[in-house]
């Protein structure tokens, strides 16, 4: 039947008792106060379509696009309705009935063909100075003309060299990416397993583990420093990091738009690329990519040739914060924990006066897909609390969606910023100087929102702040403020 996608979630739809409890947590309903903003309204729309009361039209698709997929409704539903599944099924039904909007069609075609995608972004980074105007202080750009982006919006620039161009495919632990062992942290920090020259010299010939790093697009093309931090921190812990060069977009933007065919093909391709590697774990540092590996790939590929591999890889998946805390044991073993705390206690670092980046007030934003999606919220906080000099300040409602949600912020920029304004206010109340989060998509949104509210806070990935604790000497050259750009780019970006 025509609405097969919806029919499979009929039981889920029927579970809803229309109590409306989702209204109390939906960031969109909070702003719009309209029933179609919230899960109950959209669910009833899907139900009406399923029962033949309304046809599936572009208007139907548009109503279903008004969702952040933050899953706050799912977490709060007294009947346990998986609205996320209903939404995806309804979006899939809409794509089948009316196709994708033209812009998405072009973008998804690009995303699903890694060569085209890479070529596109390669020319993008060369052309971006012509299209974007540099922000006077931040590493960020304003669009010079609309091009589908709101002109008040700042976007981070595409990296001149992508992460996977910058790094080798195999990064053994003896060769930290930045190759800077802070040798001042030496004698007094004798316990610091991974930092002292002694221990460095006696590093095991064979790494204690070998992991694959699935970078995701935003880390590969934009926030390359996050990727370097992941590799660096893992290397410091004696772990070899492989970055399979053929890896490509996780496909979730395609998946959440309802283009299941393309999403499935992309999932299968990534699974095949990683299935061959001899690895102990797959690491992600993007919440959405993480969900892809752990939840969506095994489900999407059910019954496919790659089903078994997808399940196996799903079990091997770890978010970087989770891996550091639960596998390496950031607080339990002397390894990382020892390294960090001894740095703080020795005074060696302090005496060099370069501990700057890891001191100060830090707050943490829970990415929806990490917190509710993967259930990871303790590990990042444990990392932050383990870093000496960091004064961790919990914000009110840290799990409230920042309003970014990928292409949602393109389609509904004003609404997205209204939602982000609550996050900005919560950040402001903490008095924090640094906002840490576990997902590059949230980071981009929060950076933009903070800029619009003229707030000075910087935004970092959890693993970057941790890396700074390892690298107290190099914060000034780390280029948080300064992008790695050529003279030509700097000229153009002026």
């Amino acid at each position: 039947m025509k609405l097969r996608d919806l029919a499979v979630v009929r039981a889920e739809i029927d579970k809803c008792m229309k109590c409306g409890n989702c209204q109390s947590v939906c960031p969109i309903y909070f702003e719009t106060k309209k029933e179609l903003g919230v899960a109950r309204g959209k669910l009833t729309l899907a139900q009406a379509a399923l029962e033949g009361e309304l046809p599936v039209t572009p208007a139907f698709a548009e109503r279903l696009s008004l969702c952040l997929t933050c899953n706050a409704c799912v977490a709060n539903c007294p009947s346990g309705v998986r609205f996320d599944r209903i939404l995806l099924a309804a979006r899939a039904a809409a794509v089948k009935a009316c196709g994708l909007p033209p812009v998405k069609k072009v973008i998804f075609a690009g995303l699903s063909h890694p060569i085209v995608f890479r070529a596109g972004l390669r020319s993008g980074r060369l052309l971006q100075p012509l299209i974007f105007k540099r922000h006077p202080r931040k590493r960020a750009n304003y669009p010079r003309f609309p091009l589908g982006l709101d002109r008040r919006r700042i976007v981070p620039p595409l990296a001149v060299r992508t992460l996977r161009e910058e790094l080798a495919e195999v990064n053994p632990p003896s060769d930290p990416v930045l190759n800077r062992v802070p040798n001042q942290v030496s004698n007094q920090a004798g316990q610091a397993a991974n930092l002292t020259p002694d221990r460095a010299a006696s590093r095991p010939a064979r790494p204690r583990m070998r992991v694959a790093f699935f970078t995701g697009c935003m880390i590969n093309y934009i926030y390359t420093e996050t990727g370097r931090a992941v590799v660096n921190v893992l290397n410091r812990n004696g772990i070899e990091v492989v970055l399979p060069s053929e890896q490509h977009c996780c496909g979730i933007p395609v998946f959440v738009s309802g283009d299941m065919g393309t999403a499935r093909a992309m999932a299968a391709s990534n699974v095949r690329i990683f299935a061959g590697a001899q690895i102990d774990a797959i690491i992600t540092a993007c919440a959405t990519c993480g969900e892809a590996w752990r939840h969506h790939y095994p489900e999407l590929l059910e019954g496919a040739e790659e089903a078994e591999q997808a399940r196996e890889l799903g079990k091997k998946h770890y978010d970087i914060s989770e891996f550091l805390v639960d596998v390496i044991g950031i607080t339990r073993e002397p390894g990382l924990a020892g390294a960090i705390s001894s740095m703080g206690s020795t005074g060696t670092v302090g005496s060099t006066g370069t501990v700057g980046p890891t001191t100060g007030k830090v707050t943490y934003h829970d990415p929806c897909h990490l917190n509710r999606g993967l259930g990871i919220n303790r590990a990042p906080r444990e990392i932050l609390r383990a870093i000496p000099g960091v004064e961790f300040r919990e914000m009110a409602n840290p799990g409230r969606c920042c309003g970014g949600s990928g292409s949602f912020s393109l389609s509904y920029y004003d609404l997205s910023m209204d939602i982000a304004a609550h996050k900005v206010a919560d950040i402001q109340k903490t008095g924090a100087e640094t906002v840490v989060t576990g997902c590059p998509a949230c980071r981009m949104q929060i950076e933009d929102a903070l800029n619009r509210h003229q707030m000075p806070q910087r935004v970092l990935h959890t693993v970057e702040l941790l890396e700074m604790a390892f690298e107290p000497l190099h914060d000034e050259s780390r280029g948080i403020q300064e992008p790695r750009t050529s003279a030509f780019h700097r000229f153009l970006l002026r």
Partner: protein, 486 residues
């Protein structure tokens, strides 16, 4: 469909963004939280932001003879917001400002779209609370809870919405704005119009401003749970607690069907062989609370409770509350359709009521879970059924008839807190008698002579016909025909 001219006029009143006419948007206002009612789409939805806009919309509706259905968050359980005859749904969710918190006079004045919890959060910093505590406290609007006179979990000690509404601003059917009551504790000037509009279910006027009474927040509370193997002992415990001069803020009961459903759904370790669980919370001044808690525990022991727990921490309190919170959703999972009633009896009749409900369940071969506010006699017999099973639905209907008859026989009422709406309209006369219904009909006719405010609610369908006959068959006109009027 409304004519273009009407839509244009609505847009000129509220602006394009706050007038919805696309079917995809209208679907969202075709239902509320009431189970087993068919969806009915309105012809337009408006979301005014001011009393003036409400006045304009009401005047337009009057001129054009278009029915108008006020709606807050749409979380009611009586079908009260369903637009039976199409027309305009007027949503108050965007009128959501807290206009004033007057800590000196212990009042707050709000627009109708303010969420009950939001008001409570706002007055918390003054050390005050707004006590009415419906299950929908985090979603329901003040306007909706006043129009429905919502009750909740603290009714026994603190009363219900009508005990806290001191003043109202109401847009009448003719577009005039009425202000009644105010901030004074004492006020016997004229008829008590505030009480008249409280609980009027949107049939007499549209509430656009509300002044409520606040009270100091209780400084301390104790939460206890007692499990009983015998229903009569649980019921006896309820009356014994009160005859020992303890009035708990909360005194809730869960029957065996509900306990089993909750355990099935939430796995929180409830004793599934128990006949009843009582959840009891006392609050107030610390010393008093401790004393009262001791009395409650002693009564439970003396009545032979199989087990008793008292929460020592907030986390333990949450654990005890978990069972009660899960009751409704758990029951909802057992069968596709859940018919939730709120027939209410004097507290002393609770055991008879529960036994009667069990008899009705076995007589009609139905699964009925009963839970609710035992302390104030407000039970929620919940029939679990399947709306697609016609034969069973016929039995459900007969069972519901008997439940109401039973409640009235025991000196109770059809509805403790959900209101009549469309779901219980046909039983109205059974409680009120012809004279009572006649008085209400006259009030309705005096305030809404065209019958345009939330038509089809409270009054039984036959009564509705009589009401509109006085207006030269306005109701008989098709939507297209009524466009010609005005």
């Amino acid at each position: 469909m409304l004519s273009k001219a009407v839509v244009t006029e609505l847009v000129s009143i509220c602006g394009r963004e706050r007038v919805l006419t696309e079917p995809e948007d209208l679907i969202g206002y075709s239902f509320d939280a009431t189970a087993a009612l068919p969806r009915r789409r309105p012809e337009a939805v408006v979301l005014p932001v001011s009393t003036e806009e409400v006045v304009q919309v009401v005047k337009l509706a009057g001129r054009r003879r278009i029915p108008i259905y006020p709606r807050g968050s749409g979380t009611n359980l009586s079908g009260g917001t369903i637009p039976l005859e199409g027309g305009i749904v007027l949503v108050t969710t965007m009128m959501n400002s807290i206009l004033e918190v007057d800590a000196e006079n212990l009042t707050a004045t709000v627009q109708p779209g303010v969420i009950v919890q939001t008001l409570n959060d706002a007055v918390a910093s003054y050390g005050l609370i707004y006590p009415p505590d419906p299950g929908t406290v985090a979603t329901a609007t003040m306007g909706g809870t006043v129009a429905e006179c919502s009750g909740g979990l603290r009714g026994l000690k603190y009363g219900v919405t009508k005990h806290y509404v001191m003043g109202l601003e109401v847009v009448l059917a003719d577009g005039n704005v009425l202000r009644a009551g105010g901030k004074t504790v004492k006020n016997v000037t004229g008829y008590d119009l505030v009480k008249l509009f409280t609980g009027s279910e949107g049939t007499l006027g549209i509430i656009t401003g509300i002044t409520v009474k606040l009270i100091p927040a209780p400084e301390h509370r104790r939460t206890m749970m007692a499990v009983f193997d015998d229903l009569d002992r649980a019921a006896k415990t309820i009356s014994e607690i009160i005859s020992h001069k303890v009035i708990p803020a909360t005194l809730e009961i869960l029957d065996r069907v509900t306990i089993q459903a909750v355990e099935e759904h939430a796995r929180i370790g409830l004793p599934t062989e128990a006949e009843a669980i009582l959840l009891i919370e006392v609050d107030g001044i610390r010393e008093v609370v401790e004393k009262e808690a001791a009395v409650v525990l002693e009564v439970c022991r003396r009545q032979g409770a199989a087990s008793i727990r008292a929460a020592e921490t907030d986390a333990e309190r949450d654990e005890l509350w978990a069972a009660r919170r899960a009751a409704l959703p758990a029951l909802a999972q057992l069968k596709p359709t859940m018919v939730l009633e709120d027939a209410t009896v004097p507290r002393s009749k609770i055991p008879e009521m529960i036994r009667g409900l069990n008899d009705i369940a076995s007589k009609y071969r139905l699964k009925i879970g009963t839970f609710g506010h035992a302390g104030d006699g407000n039970l929620h017999p919940t029939i679990l059924t399947d709306v697609s099973d016609e034969e069973e639905m016929a039995r459900v209907e007969r069972a519901v008839d008997e439940i109401f008859t039973l409640a009235l026989q025991l000196g109770g009422t059809l509805s403790g807190e959900h209101g009549i709406g469309m779901a219980k309209a046909k039983y109205l006369e059974q409680e009120f008698g012809p004279a009572g219904v006649e008085v209400m009909a006259r009030i309705k006719h005096a305030l809404d002579p065209l019958g345009l405010l939330n038509p089809g609610k409270i009054f039984p369908p036959a009564q509705g016909k009589i009401l509109s006959q006085g207006e030269a068959g306005v109701k008989e006109q098709t939507p297209a025909a009524r466009e010609g009027l005005g």
